[in-house]
Subunit: 427 residues, 2 copies
Amino acid sequence: MALFIQKFGGTSVGNVERIRRIAERIERTHRDGHQVVVVVSAMSGETDRLMRLAHDVTPQPDDRELAVLLSSGERVAIALLAMRLRGCGINARSFTGRQVGIVTNSSHTRARIAKVTAAPVRQALADGVLPIVAGFQGVNAQSEVTTLGRGGSDLTAVALAAALKASRCVIFTDVDGVFTADPGVVPSARRIPTLSYEAMLELASLGAKVLQARSVEFAARYNVPVEVRSTFQEGAGTLVTHEDADMEQAAVSGVTGDRNQAKITVVGVPDRPGIAAHVLGAMADAAVVVDMIIQNVSHGGQFTDISFTVPRNDLARALPLVERTADTIGAKTVEVREDIAKVSLVGVGMQSHSGVASKMFRTLSGESINIMMISTSEIKISCVLDERDCDKAVRALHAGFGLDRRPDAGDETGRPAPPARKARRPA
Amino acid sequence: MALFIQKFGGTSVGNVERIRRIAERIERTHRDGHQVVVVVSAMSGETDRLMRLAHDVTPQPDDRELAVLLSSGERVAIALLAMRLRGCGINARSFTGRQVGIVTNSSHTRARIAKVTAAPVRQALADGVLPIVAGFQGVNAQSEVTTLGRGGSDLTAVALAAALKASRCVIFTDVDGVFTADPGVVPSARRIPTLSYEAMLELASLGAKVLQARSVEFAARYNVPVEVRSTFQEGAGTLVTHEDADMEQAAVSGVTGDRNQAKITVVGVPDRPGIAAHVLGAMADAAVVVDMIIQNVSHGGQFTDISFTVPRNDLARALPLVERTADTIGAKTVEVREDIAKVSLVGVGMQSHSGVASKMFRTLSGESINIMMISTSEIKISCVLDERDCDKAVRALHAGFGLDRRPDAGDETGRPAPPARKARRPA
């Protein structure tokens, strides 16, 4: 008898008909003799509706009250799903974040999980009860409601899986799994059957919106096997696990294109030590995540340029700070480009395959695509380029690295899932 | 500095505009230097919406899950109101039923309050915080959510007022107060300025839908002065307090007409002791509230008839049980009348004014209205009559007992409110 966490997102519980369908799916796993703990999000649209109400009531809603407000959405979902299952003769019971023992820090709307006791859920399982848990919510040390930020239900599911040592955390969503590229851009994109946490993390933070990045970090840390699969389609999804020693890696797992990028260049900075720290410190203070950073070698030893990228929707907040800092350090001017995109190759196999970078540049050059910035990590190469070239670059790289070959034609990504868990312990 | 509980019902928080308006009203009391604890219901329509969802999901929703579902409505309301007040610079903070310490028994959807600790609210008040409390909800000993039944927010407000020894519990609603009769039936009906708990209780349970009956009982028991007044109109309401020794009472405070009545007669019962207990015991087992009971004196000593009234919407449940019992005890037949109504005179002053009953019968007879059943208590006289005569009877009695006279014409009900509280302690 295995223990599965099954997480259903907002579209999966979006209306009464869908709640009935996922109840059937849960019932099937239950009748197969497995233990199941279900995590649900609010019905789709509900969080947005509550947000609108809050902003209609007052321009800057208080964070503590926002958490109380938004957490009500998941309460509705757990109660409806639990009563449906009970109506089908299953001994289901709803649990709020507090009842499950998800204890967080006090950041009311972007809380971080400090502890998951899960004792009541463990007891419920021992009593033959099927727990239906509210995602996205917890309580702080003062027993006040907190929420985990957008996509936080994934995190609830993974954290519960870690606490309960579940065999697998299954994230049901409206796509079949993680793909080698966005199928909307690259029609020949394939579902990736298995993926390492590291690669998934890069894909998640690079704009593949399947799994919340924090939940992948959490899964990696506690070695929780996570499967992403479709709610309403049968068939396998993508299994995300720790990289096995004997797991042959594809050089490249996938290609992403991310348009949520803006590039800021501080031009003509008198070149002396600490300049970059000065500019980027201002960004850190304002909680703007800076991604790629390039400082040009100064010619003639007098002036230098610093370029970096920020999320495009943080630009309005970042720019005045940069301009103030540029004044302070005596820079000539500040330039901004919003019409850029970041295209990335991700794959754990890059570590051992040489020549991936040079092949990437060659492929882009073959399409006459100009590269503005480059950054590399052990499992990722990213290029900033003109936004107009984004889709063309993704398609060219997808084809160039053979990602649209059939699995049965010898692609290593087509191999079956590795055995479930390794014994790595929580940090 | 006085402490007021202010309770706002669903229509008072029915939309964003109304939430802003009641926030202004709360702010005014707060700025006047008083302490305020606010209790709110779910936005109007929300409880019905959630109930519909539940019944769409499964025909017989589980009570425990129903409580989780319905309690989400009040959470939305407290969060929105608290964030509005915070936006206006008031240090407001929302409290759920659990956070306030409203502990109930385990009847999930009709829970009875066992204990109100109110410690967090007391602490909040000491810290200068304005608490916004979710009505209608509590937790049982297992820390599971429970709800107090329809109208339960009144009970939350009164229970908090008792626990905090508030100067007054103000119930804001969509009417100006308690009237001598339904103004829709009797246009000359007047607002009653002050009323005893006992009279209010009779009026509440007789169909004046202003205050939930259980909350009046609670207020009487803990001697909480309750004021019913309009949310959106200025001006006095009705103050409900303990009857003062020096409080001159009107003979009659009000007239009610209640159409939610059905009359069952068990005809031709062999007359022997214990027959009434047999018939009414079946009703009690089925939790049907039996109101008026008449057993005719048996003529000839052999057979008797037993008539009683039940709420009309319980008739379908009651009738088969009565018919089974009638068979068992050898009754001839069972007769049912649904087209009846109960018209009642209520007034604490009846105790000391003789002749009220005979004047009531004379008044009805003067209108050629036939009386089917009569029951009396110390502060109430009720007559069952044909439903078609209901409004006519209410109007005739309202006029006959001088209830539509102006207060300044010498009616005792027009006297000002008595001093706030007496020292009677909780039982």
